[in-house]
């Protein structure tokens, strides 16, 4: 219903276009995205420029904003039946599921030349790869980094020892003040610590290894921070962390770009890379990153044109618009050499952090990890079980679920 005016507008526009260029066979590329506000405006600007440049070829790109909540399910339902778009933009976490279901995403290995491949941050390209085949071009990434209150922390800690020292000084549990606050019992956030120790969810290949010894070590360090050092609040929901940081009662937060919009006006904050871990021989904390990719659908009638658009959308000029106007952190490497981007403290901070980030696994089995992992995290931080025992239990649960899925 809501779409009616827009649809009729689009129809009028299409009509006008067809009247203007009657001799040209129009090729329409439909793009679905879940962007709002400035991101949407930036994308539309890039598309408008593309349309202008390609009008002579008779190619016209139209965008459709689909609400984020329904996005993935719409793709799953519509694309295999030929009712979907030619191109869509989404994060890599559902990629494996779509590929396993088949008939949804088009592999682009064949189109992909070395020059195109090399223009992205390598790990973002890795996120677009499933079972050795590339399925999309990375557009932007989101990654957790260190956000700190400059008034409380003049110099950001570089190592975990420094972090604990700073945080201990700033923590007063009785008064509800904490040196460090982050959603540590959320597995996604905890992964930064786990990956820092060299831990992992899947052994190379699809075998879950939640109870790898490195994972246990990471959990033990978290417990030390929570218990012995006492620098973290209990039951850290995102709402709690936001309000603590905004009240000046949390000095340092580990969070991603989504957190920046929540920070209150009066807070003077800055970003710095997550500290290195003295407990893991000085290796950096390595957060998971989610990478939004541009995917060509398997049912598209104009795959060549669709891929061409994806290529332009991820190229440096478009990435510059997406970064400066859409406030995205592009996966394109070259755009960070642009002076306007380079001097932006937020964009360059995320760029620095992504160097050590690891793409979140895009295997469909990953969805089965969340629930047992969350259970394990909760039992561990509540001290109902030792890290080893809880992770063993989680591993067993995941293995059982995966077996339930894979049997044939």
């Amino acid at each position: 219903m809501k779409l009616t005016p827009r649809l009729s507008l689009a129809a009028v526009a299409a009509l006008a276009a067809s009247l203007a260029a009657p001799a040209l066979a129009q090729k329409e590329i439909v793009v679905w995205h879940a962007y709002r506000a400035e991101e949407k405006a930036a994308l539309e600007k890039v598309v408008a420029a593309y349309n202008q440049a390609n009008a002579a070829k008779g190619i016209k790109v139209t965008t459709l904003a689909v609400p984020y909540d329904a996005f993935a399910d719409k793709i799953t339902a519509a694309v295999p039946r030929g009712k979907g778009p030619d191109v869509f933009i989404y994060a890599q976490d559902r990629l494996g599921g779509w590929i396993e279901a088949g008939n949804t995403v088009e592999p682009i290995d064949f189109f992909l030349d070395k020059a195109t491949k090399d223009r992205f941050i390598p790990t973002t390209m890795e996120a677009m790869t499933y079972r050795g085949t590339v399925w999309g071009l990375p557009l932007d990434y989101k990654v957790i980094t260190m956000i700190y209150n400059k008034k409380l922390v003049p110099v950001p800690p570089k190592t975990s020892k420094e972090l604990v020292a700073v945080a201990r000084k700033l923590t007063d549990k009785k008064a509800g003040r904490f040196g460090l606050a982050y959603s540590y019992s959320d597995y996604y956030y905890h992964a930064a610590l786990q990956n820092g120790f060299g831990g992992r969810v899947f052994d190379p290949g699809p075998k879950p290894v939640l109870n790898a010894p490195e994972n246990v070590k990471a959990m033990e360090l978290l417990m030390r921070w929570l218990d012995t050092d006492g620098i973290l609040p209990a039951e850290p929901s995102t709402a709690l962390i936001t309000s603590l940081f905004n009240d000046g009662r949390a000095a340092i937060v580990f969070s991603g770009p989504w957190f920046l919009g929540e920070i209150a006006k009066g807070i003077d904050y800055a970003l710095a890379p997550l500290p290195t871990l003295d407990e893991a021989g000085g290796k950096p904390m390595r957060p998971w990153m989610t990478v939004e990719g541009v995917f060509v659908t398997a049912q598209s009638k104009n795959k060549d044109a669709a891929y061409d658009f994806a290529k332009v959308l991820t190229d440096t000029p478009a990435a510059r618009v997406m970064a400066l106007e859409g406030r995205q952190t592009p996966a394109n490497k070259a755009v960070y050499d642009d002076p306007a981007v380079a001097k932006d403290p937020i964009l360059s901070a995320f760029r620095k952090q992504v160097e050590v980030a690891i793409p979140m696994p895009n295997l469909p089995e990953m969805t089965m990890v969340w629930s047992p992992a969350t259970t394990a995290m909760n039992t561990i931080v509540k001290k109902s079980a030792t890290p080893k025992a809880a992770l063993d239990a989680a591993e067993k649960a995941v293995l059982r679920d995966v077996a339930g899925l894979r049997k044939r």
């Binding site: 279901a101 064949f110 209990a234 629930s371 509540k382 339930g404």
Partner: protein
């Protein structure tokens, strides 16, 4: 015809005519369906025979190309030699992934400038992608130690011909693909329709003749019709089964011949091009399924394993028998429906109430599309092993019967004893979740009714000042969106910053970690839902209270009844007609109260406070086991149906008041 027979109620109905029509329709149905099934089975048999022949051929070719080294002139020579031996193949293509190169091709289009070797063109992307798919399949199956993805891909083209592709390997890695397009196989001869027709005509003719002798004796006519129908179904079924078995044997013999033949041809090519002949070829392994697992019907020496053939023939017979039982049952129902006058009665009602049915039709159509179809589809899914990996597979391919139900309902391992003797509950067990759900429903409804009724009684006090203000305030919890309320309550139960623990601390208690044990976690959800559910009960009771005539109380006072006696003797019985339906309704709501559990406790700790509906959600959308989740939901539906029947009885019992 039967309608016409039933259209003249003044004349006694002709049983002979009804049974004759019934027999005609039923046997035509049975034989018609049987004919389609047989036709389908023959075509399917021909397709799978062609698949197996193609499979043997491509595996032989892949073996030769592997030994020729996948790239280079040796490959082109091998392919050319192989193509000469196999006029049945329309086009052969060999692709090496490295450099996207077309290594060899016998396609007539690939000559002159387009001749192999050359780089693949843009239009040939599908060929490359197909190879990548096979590579990923081989690697996936290897990594998972299972056979889940097709390692040999078949696609049937529009003209019935087969395009088949197999991976090429070098040192254990898949480095290319070989694709063969075969010429269309000769069309399959459909089964004789004359035979089928005779299976309908003969019994009907026999019945008509016998009818002349028997006359209008209904029981005899009925038995005769049933016997004749059974004969038709059995006869046509037995004939079809025999035909299928003959076909099966012929196919196995044929495959064995092809395996021997391909083995000899491959050896000859290896010898003539002086390619490595070691390790020796094992052609029997080429007769394999899409996962390259040999069927084992053809032995290494080229002979047929009779036991395997007999086993698959037995499987065919079981399938035929099941189909027969199903078709026979349906046609028997049709026969009895027509023969015993059900059909004519049905037509009569439709005619009499034509207008009424016309009015109802649009609503019925809407119900069918929006309610019954999704519902039945959900039930159908519950009998399959549908998961994220096979959403696009037809339901019949993943049919598992009652397996999901059995694994849900027959698992009684609710609790086990630990090494040190403590009870450990398995929170994922169905019966644990059922117990939580029942406890959840009972406690919630009790709280809702008690608090609601109490507040209604208070609000009903005569002369209470500011009554409308209280009423609005007390309805507010109901007016707020319940997920907002749920999130607020969750915040109130925070260990350090939650208001509940702060109040406890004011009174000198120590803060409780609410979501740590199942019981306290359950309490948080209970408090939230209690808050949400009392306004409804209060509104219902308040309305009913105001409709109780005040003279009843006056009379009671005159008779000297106490306040308590008035409450139990007048108020409660008068509230019953309003409260019982409200309670019944709120039981169903609470039983399926997804939001509160999902948002407040999130099943913590460890899924112990999950209720059935949230558990079903987790199976479907976190574990991607759609079939299992559908079975779970169907069980929930079953429980509610049982409850609904019970509810109907109770409502009927209260109607009299």
């Amino acid at each position: 015809m039967s309608a016409r027979a039933g259209d003249a109620p003044e004349r006694p109905p002709s049983h002979r005519l009804r049974f004759a029509v019934g027999l005609l329709v039923a046997s035509a149905l049975a034989v018609g369906v049987g004919y389609r099934l047989l036709d389908g089975a023959l075509a399917q048999g021909a397709r799978s025979a062609e698949d197996r022949r193609a499979n043997v051929a491509i595996r032989a070719l892949a073996e030769v190309v592997d030994r020729a080294g996948v790239t280079g002139d040796a490959v082109r020579a091998a392919v050319a030699a192989w193509a000469k031996d196999h006029p049945q193949q329309a086009a052969i293509k060999v692709v090496a992934f490295d450099g996207l190169s077309l290594e060899a091709s016998t396609d007539p289009a690939d000559t002159g400038d387009e001749a192999a070797p050359r780089r693949l063109r843009r239009e040939e992307k599908d060929l490359y992608d197909r190879g990548q798919r096979l590579r990923a399949a081989v690697e996936t199956n290897r990594a998972e130690g299972a056979s889940r993805k097709d390692e040999v891909e078949r696609a049937r083209l529009a003209d019935g011909s087969l395009s088949i592709a197999a991976p090429l390997e070098k040192d254990g890695a898949v480095v290319g693909l070989v694709q063969v397009q075969r010429r269309p196989p000769p069309p399959v001869k459909p089964p004789s329709w004359l035979t089928a027709l005779s299976y309908v005509a003969v019994p009907v003719a026999v019945f008509l003749l016998a009818g002349l002798v028997v006359g209008e004796r209904r029981a005899v006519l009925g038995v005769l019709a049933v016997v004749l129908l059974a004969g038709t179904v059995w006869g046509y079924g037995a004939q079809s089964a025999a035909k299928l078995e003959r076909g099966r044997r012929a196919v196995e013999e044929g495959i064995a011949g092809i395996v021997r033949d391909e083995g000899a041809k491959a050896s000859a090519i290896l010898a003539s091009l002086s390619l490595p002949a070691e390790p020796p070829l094992d052609p029997a392994r080429w007769d394999a399924d899409a996962f390259r697992r040999p069927y084992g019907v053809v032995r290494s020496d080229g002979s047929v394993d009779e036991a395997k053939v007999a086993a698959s023939a037995a499987r065919d017979r079981t399938a035929v028998r099941n189909a027969l039982l199903l078709v026979g049952g349906v046609s028997l129902a049709v026969l009895l429906f027509v023969g015993l006058g059900g059909a004519s009665a049905f037509v009569r009602t439709v005619r009499t109430n034509r207008v009424a049915y016309t009015y109802v039709l649009p609503a019925m159509a809407g119900m069918v599309v929006l309610v019954f179809f999704p519902f039945l589809y959900g039930i159908a899914i519950s009998f399959t092993d549908s998961t994220i990996y096979n959403t696009n597979a037809p339901l019949t391919d993943i049919w598992v019967g009652f397996k999901n139900y059995v694994s849900i309902l027959s698992d009684f391992h609710v609790a086990t004893r630990d090494a040190d003797g403590t009870l450990v509950f398995n929170y994922l067990n169905f019966y644990w979740t059922l117990w939580v759900t029942v406890a959840w429903t009972v406690t919630n409804v009790t709280i809702g009714v008690t608090v609601g009724l109490f507040l209604a009684l208070v609000l009903n006090t005569k002369g209470l000042a500011l009554k409308p203000v209280y009423r609005v305030l007390l309805i507010l919890p109901w007016a707020m969106p319940n997920y907002i309320t749920a999130l607020i309550w969750k915040g109130m139960f925070h260990q350090q910053f939650g208001v509940v623990n702060q109040v406890i601390q004011i009174f000198g208690g120590s803060p409780v970690s609410w979501f740590e044990t199942p019981f306290t976690s359950f309490l948080t959800a209970l408090a939230t839902n209690g808050w949400l559910s009392f306004p409804f009960m209060m509104v219902v009771s308040l309305g009913a209270l105001q409709s109780i005539p005040s003279d009843l109380y006056e009379a009671a006072r005159v008779d000297g009844a106490s306040r308590w006696q008035q409450f139990t003797g007048i108020t409660l019985p008068s509230l019953k007609p309003a409260l019982v339906p409200a309670i019944i309704l709120s039981v169903v709501w609470t039983f399926n109260m997804f939001n509160i559990i999902y948002l407040v406790t999130q099943g913590e700790p460890g899924g112990s406070t999950e209720i059935l509906i949230t558990q079903a959600y987790k199976f479907a959308f976190e574990k991607y086991r759609y079939g299992y989740a559908a079975a779970y939901s169907t069980v929930i539906f079953g429980i509610l149906v049982v409850y609904g029947t019970f509810q109907n009885r109770v409502t009927r019992a209260t109607e009299g008041i």
